[in-house]
Subunit: 214 residues, 2 copies
DNA sequence: ATTAGTTCTAGTCAGTTTGACTATAACTAT
DNA sequence: ATAGTTATAGTCAAACTGACTAGAACTAAT
């Protein structure tokens, strides 16, 4: 379950998008589904998630974390399947490199049709987690490049939370987090006053897989 | 991974305890381990967790939630094992009924020796989750009975967070949560002013397994 | 019966955070 | 030069938090 920012067709503002793959065999042949695949004998869970993601979409995430293990009895009509789902954030430059094709395409996270299996429920849960986690942890920056303006950070929050935020108050909060570093560079080329560029100096989350390994 | 409150041997104050089972075969024969068992073909993940818990310890939890899926390559020396771990809270009355025996015993959560497999890491992570979750969700009440005093709630928080809390300020916060209902009863028999009894009227968490099902 | 000891409970007060808002700075386009 | 727009700093009141005070209500000891 991968999230990336892409400009909306109309407003041009960044919105949340996710890549889906088309089912080429039964069950749910023809429907769109989350990328995924089997866990092989000699790879860890995050390694398997990364590998499957790489193989289906060519993406390399900047943030990867376990979402949930889904194991309901009737997830697949043909057999019992337990899916240990990971969710990822990828930076815009990475997202632009993704292999789009007839069977791999980006969709707006808030405008998905009916997906295969229970994947709509999985997307809903991942969205809920993303919104929640963003409120108390610095993960939004994994959706941005190395340098960014505070307005861009605000746009990320606005896209994910789906509501407008007061620019002045938002600045104050972001500037109070120690993981955000002011640089001496300014973003030139805009139509207005050039905003200062900032940098994120923090590290990933507290996932057990991330906690010990440096 | 089950948590319950039991009075500490010395101070008599409630502390966190967890039940462990002794390994009766290799690997790690003789060491203590978390209760668990296989997932059968016809049961959901939470059902399997409940069943395994019931079979090994006789406990029925008042709160059950998925913790994490552990799938490192070297968790067991003999084979590749992926464990989808659940964590549970049980009320004191339930905990007292648990089947203790030569091979099933309660341990203080903060005084465990070396456990089998990676179970020490799992306990650490569960403790971390419990502490975190208690800060923003009303789950402490699943460790108490139906009626409780505000001082008992405070003792739960103090036991889990391992630090003392100001009684007056704590009251104020708890009384501000809408899920706590004042009753007209008072706890008699204490050595001091009888405290009022309260009740918890909320419901479980936002686990995907719990969200839709009523 | 009075007093001391303890917890229960309500309240005050200062420091911090939050949301709504105002004002100035710095750029581009006309 | 001027209007338009975003960037940025600051003000102010409301809400929240932590430290603290004080009276209420009970038991145990004198």
């Amino acid at each position: 379950m991968i999230f990336a920012l892409r400009p909306s067709e109309r407003s041009g503002r960044p919105t949340l998008w996710i890549p889906l793959v088309r089912r080429i065999r039964e069950p749910f042949k023809g429907l769109w589904a989350l990328p995924g695949g089997p866990l092989t004998h000699a790879e860890s869970l995050p390694d398997a998630a990364s590998r499957n993601l790489q193989e289906t979409t060519g993406l390399a995430p900047s943030y990867l974390e376990q979402l949930y293990a889904f194991g309901g009895l009737h997830r697949s009509p043909t057999q019992r399947v337990v899916s240990i789902v990971y969710w990822a954030l990828v930076q815009p430059t990475e997202a632009a490199l993704a292999d789009e094709s007839e069977n791999v395409r980006w969709f707006r996270a808030d405008r998905l049709g009916d997906l295969a299996f229970d994947h709509n429920a999985i997307v809903d849960y991942a969205l809920w987690r993303l919104r929640n986690k963003m409120a108390y942890e610095s993960i939004a920056y994994h959706l941005l490049g190395e340098y960014f303006t505070l307005a861009q950070v605000r746009e990320v929050y606005e896209a994910v939370l789906d509501r407008e935020l007061d620019p002045a108050n938002f600045r104050r909060q972001v500037k109070a987090t120690p993981e955000i570093e002011e640089t001496e560079q300014y973003l030139q080329g805009g139509k207005h006053r050039p905003p200062r560029l900032y940098r994120f100096t923090g590290r990933p989350g507290l996932d057990p897989d991330n906690r010990s390994t440096p």
